[in-house]
C-alpha cells in the first residue's frame, strides 16, 4: 500500500543522460520502478538504458503516458524543467537537484500552488519510495521494506538511518517521502501528514525534522487533529545559531527555527519526540500498542 507513488506510477527521468541521472535511473529500474523514458533537450529520438529519450516533457508524456517525473537537471535550469513538467500535465514532480536559487523556487512554488494541477516534491531531496513498488529517488532501496509506517523527512541520510532502524525492528513502511532541505520546499510536512492521515494502510507516521524555518511547528498544529500516532525526531539540537548546517534551510536565525521550539510544539501536539534516532522504533511500537488498546 502506498501514497503518492505505487507500482503503477510511470516515471520519466529529466536529465537521464547525465552521469547522476544515468546511475539513478539504472538503480530505479533494478528496483522495479516503472521508468518509461528520459527527457534531455537535444537528445530526443535516441535511446538510453534501453529507454526512449525525448526533447520535451510534452513529447515524453504523449508517447509514454508518464504520470511522474524525477528531475536531475542542473540547478540553473531546474526551475524551468519543473514548470515544463507542470505545463505538460505531469501530476507528480520530484526535484532532486541541490542548489536551486531561492528566487526560482519562490516563483515555482507560488505558480504551482495557484494552479493546483501538479505536486512538487523537493528540491534538494532524496525522493520518495514505496517499498517493493516504486523507488523514485536516490535512496538505497534495500534498507526499506513494505509495512504500515509512513515517513516524511527533510534529510536524505537521516531517512536512511531511521528507515534502517525501522526495517531492522520489523516495522516496514508504506511510503517514505523526502521533502528536502531547502528553505522553500515544493511540498511541506503538513501536506504529507494530511496524505498519511487519509491513507488506510498507514497506521503511524515518523516525521524527521531539523532546525530552520517553522514547518515542523505548522505540522504540529495539524498533528493535534490527527487520528494516527506520530513519532518525531529533530536534528540539530546543539547547532549554534547563525551557522548553516549544510542544508540551505538548516539555520537558526533571528530566534526562529530552534530545535527546542519544534520539540515543544510537537510534544504539545501529542506527538512523541525521540531524543535519538535509535529510539524511534520503540516509540512507534509503544504508540501503536496504545492506539490499538
Amino acid at each position: 500500500m502506498a501514497v503518492l507513488v505505487n507500482k503503477d506510477t510511470r516515471v520519466l527521468v529529466a536529465g537521464m543522460t547525465g552521469k547522476e541521472g544515468t546511475f539513478h535511473a539504472q538503480q530505479m529500474l533494478e528496483y522495479g520502478t516503472k521508468v518509461v523514458g528520459g527527457v534531455t533537450p537535444g537528445k530526443g529520438g535516441t535511446e538510453h538504458l534501453g529507454l526512449p529519450v525525448f526533447n520535451t516533457m510534452q513529447e515524453a508524456v504523449d508517447a509514454t503516458q508518464a504520470d511522474a517525473v524525477l528531475v536531475f537537471v542542473p540547478a540553473p535550469f531546474a526551475a524551468d524543467s519543473v514548470l515544463e513538467a507542470e505545463a505538460a500535465g505531469i501530476p507528480f514532480i520530484t526535484l532532486i537537484t541541490e542548489g536551486v536559487p531561492v528566487q526560482d523556487m519562490l516563483k515555482v512554488a507560488t505558480k504551482m500552488k495557484a494552479r493546483g494541477t501538479s505536486r512538487l516534491l523537493g528540491g534538494n531531496c532524496a525522493g520518495i519510495i514505496t517499498p517493493g513498488e516504486c523507488k523514485m529517488g536516490i535512496m538505497p532501496g534495500h534498507i526499506f521494506k513494505p509495512g504500515p509506517i509512513g515517513m516524511v523527512s527533510r534529510s536524505g541520510t537521516l531517512t536512511y538511518e531511521i528507515a534502517w532502524e525501522l526495517t531492522r525492528a520489523d516495522l516496514g513502511q508504506t511510503t517514505c517521502v523526502g521533502i528536502g532541505g531547502d528553505p522553500i520546499p515544493g511540498t511541506r510536512f503538513i501536506e504529507v501528514m494530511e496524505v498519511f492521515e487519509k491513507d488506510p494502510a498507514t497506521t503511524a507516521v515518523v516525521m524527521v525534522g531539523e532546525i530552520g524555518g517553522t514547518d515542523e511547528e505548522a505540522a504540529a498544529e495539524y498533528i493535534k487533529t490527527m487520528s494516527k500516532p506520530v513519532v518525531a525526531f529533530i536534528s540539530g539540537r546543539t547547532a549554534p545559531p547563525g551557522k548553516r548546517m549544510g542544508h540551505a534551510g538548516a539555520i537558526v536565525s533571528g530566534g526562529l527555527g530552534t530545535a527546542q521550539s519544534k520539540v515543544d510544539a510537537l510534544l504539545a501536539a501529542g506527538a512523541k519526540v525521540a531524543d535519538r534516532t535509535s529510539d524511534v522504533p520503540r516509540l512507534i511500537m509503544e504508540s501503536l500498542a496504545t492506539a490499538t488498546r
Partner: protein
Amino acid sequence: MKLHEYQSKDLLAKYGVVVPGGRVAKNAADAQSIAEEYGGKVVVKAQVLMGGRGKAGGVKLFDNAAEAGTFAGELIGKRLVSIQNPAGMVVEQVLVAELVDIAEEYYLSVLLDRAAQKLLVMISREGGMEIEEVAEKNPEAIVRLLVDPVWGLADFEIRDAVMKAHIPGPAQRQMVAMIKSLVRAYIESDADLIEINPVALTPEGKLLAADAKVSLDENAVFRHPEFAATAEDSAEDPLEAEAAQKGIAYVRLGGDIGIMGNGAGLVMCSLDEVNAAGGRPANFLDVGGGANAERVKTCVELVLKDENVKGLLINIFGGITRGDQVAKGILTAFEQLDVNIPVVARIDGTGAEEGLELLKGSKIVGAATMQEAAKRIVELAYA
C-alpha cells in the same frame, strides 16, 4: 554570502537608493585624501564581515582629514575581535564615508518569509537599534509587508505600510521609493537579506541609507559573476574558506572532536550525539553524496588542520556513498598524514561490511551505531 558595507551600498546605489558619499581605502594616504574631499567630516569604518565591529573599535567619527587618515592607517592590518567573533578578523580595507547629519533614524529590511513563501519587507520608525530589540520592546513599531513572488507589490500597498509605520509626511515619498528600490534589488540580485539600519533623515529632509547590509543567495552566484570572488573569500574562518574553495560543506564550531559524515542531516545528528555523550564538536563536515576515497582523504585532512581536534568521528550511512570507498579514503589519509589522535568510524548501509573489514588491523575503531560511535570517540579523545 555577506557583502561588505561598501559593496552593499554600491549595489543599492545602482537601484537608486541614496547613500552617503565615500569610497574604500587600503592605506592611510588614500583614506586621508578621500576624507579631504568631504572637508574632513567623515566616518572611518573597518570593512570586515563580522558582527560587533563598532564595539571592537572599528568605527570612528572625525572632523579632520589628517586624523581620519592616521586612524585608517592604524586600523588597516589590525585584528579586530568582538563578542560575536572571538577569533577576530584582520582589517584589509576601510570605508571612508561622508558624515551626514541625522535628524531621525528609521529601519528598513527585505528578507525571506519561509512560512509565507513570500518576501517580507519590515519598516520601523525606531531605527538605529537592533530590530530584535524593537520587536521585543515595541512590537507595534514594526510594520510588515508581504511581497508575492509572482505578482510583486502595488504602490498603494507600500504607501499604506509607510503610513502605518508613522513615517512623517516629508519623508513618506522618499521612503516609498526606497522600498521599491530595495525590493527590486532583492529580487534582481538574488539577495537573501537587505537591511538598512539606520535609514537616516537629514535636517534638510533628505532620506538616505546610512548603513547597509546585503547578503546574497550563494546558489545564485552563477547569475552574478561579479560576486564570484566575494563568494570565495566571504567565509569568516580560514578553514571554512579553504573548504568553500574545495566545495566541501564545513562549519567550524570551536570544540575538539572532529566530525565528518555523509549528508547534512546525518552530520547534524552526529553533532547532537557527540554533545549528548559529553563531547564538544570541532566542526560540521558533510563529505557529500557519492564521495570516493580521494574525497574522503581531502575531508580528513581538512578536519585535522584544526589544531584543537583531539579525536575524529566518521559517520557514514552508505547509499550512493559506498562504505568501502570511505574506508579506503580513511586508510590512505592515515598513511599519508601523521595521525596520532583516536579515530572512530561508524559505517553502515551500502558497502559497510567490506568497509569495516578493510579497517580491521588498523588503529581505527569501528562502531556499529552512531550512538556507540559518539560515546567511544568521547571516551577515547578525553582519556
